[in-house]
């Protein structure tokens, strides 16, 4: 995990002030986390309930990813959770942000991160971590 280039890409994303947590995940499983292995502290208090809600969303992603589902999001209390689905898989780049954050600029960087991760995944000698739907 420590030398995982995807984790390094997530590290970059997590450095943005409004990214409180980010990961590559699917239902019941976080595939890659930033190398620090931790989220920003404010997320800890709400993580359990967010994680449960995330798993429900991943059920939808699993069912509709191949139909072209690209992004999903939900808002819970003072946080929003953004899902950027990797095409034709049940995996997504997930980020937790403050509800009042400037989502426009954050999502520009989310898209860059998704594309960088996809590029890494396409490298020929890369071990697959993304399950297909």
């Amino acid at each position: 995990m420590r030398d995982d280039p995807i984790a390094n890409v997530l590290d970059d994303l997590l450095k943005l002030d409004d990214i409180l947590a980010c990961m590559v995940a699917r239902r019941d499983m976080i595939s890659v986390m930033p190398t620090g292995d931790s989220f920003k502290p404010e997320v800890n208090q709400i993580w359990d309930i967010i994680k449960r809600a995330m798993d429900d969303v991943f059920g939808v992603i699993r069912d509709y990813s191949q139909a072209g589902l690209g992004e999903m999001e939900f808002r819970m209390q003072d946080y929003e959770v953004l899902f950027y689905v990797f095409p034709d898989t049940e995996n997504a780049l997930v980020a937790i942000i403050p509800a009042m954050a400037n989502k426009g600029l954050i999502e520009v960087e989310m898209e860059n991160t998704r594309r960088e991760i996809l590029k890494i995944m396409e490298e020929p000698d890369r071990e697959p971590v993304l399950a297909t739907a």
Binding site: L16, E71, K103, G104, E107, V108, E109, E111
Partner: protein
């Protein structure tokens, strides 16, 4: 992960005497980014740059600082190269579409006279700051024999003022505190370098002082929080200032502006305003904020502060213009009790509500260069960051359109918070929701 250095061949068009190149860095460290953004620009340039435009997102403030960023940039930039720039919300160039990082445009051409100027305390006395900036430019370029002139500027954007006991205040529900901010808070904020940006005053004065210059620019900003912003000139980091780079050359200037909004049926009349026409007190002789919420947005005023988050997520879709001045497009900055603080200066009394959406923005971008034969040596574009607020991750579609239209022409689209433009013979305007494009017409278009 780092994209700089990949095999993208920019510029170097045959027969062109103008060489331009795009610099770019995604490094987090200010020093590394400053060095890399210049090195990557110089790498594709055959001759030393005649001028250098340098921009970055606000992130280097907390990752080494802007002085380190600029010092590192100057270490690798040929000594004496005229440089201006500042912080911007995001940018698009031949390499990608980013809300974090540094970007540059370097242009090299022998038949150019270049100088830079600046003016400080732009929020307190915008006209004086603009005049000082213009005087520096006039003094240096008045002997230039070239007839074609353009000016690129960066102006400090609005900064939310910090009010004692209240903190950084944007919306205020209380009529009492709203009145306090209207009559005391906002007028004194500019003494502390905060408050509204007064970009319209700046560009009007620049146009008055340098009427023969084509002008393009924007307001330097942070990541949309409106808490700080910086302007660059040479090795100096300024705030609450104007910086400008002026050029006289033997090649005609290309400057084009477009706005991505359309009018709705909703109209109203501003019947009372204060603070140099930045704060609206009455609409149709009624409390401005109540009227705006109830009659225009159709939100019950008593619910607004519950619906505030919703409003802020949708307000970008509802700018306004003026029957008297269609070129001006602005939005609501904040609600101050009974009053409304506009994002910039009123340009009339008869307001027409507008709207926009992602498709309209992309259509405007798509139409930018349709009438031209793409003989541009470079393109410098100042385009509304509100486009990114609306398009979100689909902002990358702007890049896809530009790539398709421009091929390998080096381009840099900066996204400040307010854009300004002046075409000689026309009215100067500072506004949002616009895309303004500068280039040179080498060989004609």
């Amino acid at each position: 992960m780092l994209i700089v250095g990949r095999d993208v061949k920019l510029n170097l068009r045959n027969n062109s005497k103008i060489h331009a190149s795009i610099g770019f860095s995604r490094k987090w460290d200010a020093q590394e980014a400053g060095r890399e953004v210049v090195q990557s620009a110089l790498k594709n340039l055959e001759t030393p740059p005649s001028f250098f435009l340098l921009f970055s997102t606000i992130h280097y403030k907390d990752h080494g600082g802007f002085q380190e960023f600029l010092n590192a940039a100057l270490d690798v930039l040929p000594e004496g190269t005229p440089l201006i720039g500042g912080t911007i919300a995001s940018f698009i160039n031949n390499y990608g579409c980013y809300a974090r990082g540094a970007a540059a445009l370097a242009v090299s051409y022998p038949n150019m006279d270049i100088t830079v100027g600046y003016g400080i305390r732009a929020k307190r006395n915008p006209k004086k700051a603009a005049r000082n900036c213009a005087n520096m430019i006039r003094k240096e370029l008045e002997k230039s024999s070239y007839k074609n002139k353009f000016l690129i500027n960066m102006i400090s954007a609005p900064i939310i003022p910090k009010i004692p006991f209240m903190g950084e205040v944007n919306n205020v529900k209380s009529r009492f505190y709203g009145a306090m901010l209207t009559y005391i808070g906002m007028p004194i904020a500019h003494y502390f370098g905060t408050g509204i940006g007064k970009e319209q005053d700046v560009i009007e004065q620049l146009a008055l002082s340098l009427p023969e210059y084509y002008m393009i620019g924007g307001s330097s900003v942070d990541d949309g929080r409106m808490l700080s912003n910086y302007q660059f000139i040479g090795g100096n980091i300024l705030s609450n200032s104007i910086t400008a780079l002026a050029c006289s050359t033997d090649i005609p200037v290309f400057l084009k502006a477009q706005i991505a909004v359309h009018k709705t049926e909703k109209k109203f009349k501003i019947t009372d305003a204060t603070y140099h026409d930045y704060i609206v007190k009455k609409i149709e002789n009624k409390s401005a904020s109540n009227y705006f919420l109830k009659e225009i947005l159709e939100i019950p005023p008593e619910l607004f502060y519950t619906l505030g988050p919703f409003y802020y997520k949708t307000s970008d879709y509802f700018p306004m213009t003026f029957e008297e001045n269609n070129e001006h497009v602005l939005g609501v900055g904040s609600l101050l009790g009974n009053n409304i603080l506009l994002s910039h200066k009123m340009a009339g009394k008869n307001v027409v509500m507008c709207t926009t959406n992602g498709n309209e923005i992309l259509r405007v971008i798509d139409s930018l260069f349709l009438d031209y034969n793409k003989a541009f040596p470079f393109l410098f574009i100042s385009s509304s960051t509100i486009y990114s607020f609306i398009l979100r991750n689909k902002t990358v579609k702007i890049k896809e359109i530009l790539d398709k239209q421009l091929g390998d022409i080096p381009y840099l689209m900066i996204q400040p918070i307010i854009e300004n433009i002046y075409i000689p013979g026309k009215k100067p305007v500072a506004r949002a929701y616009s895309t303004n494009t500068l280039s040179l017409l080498e060989g004609g278009v």
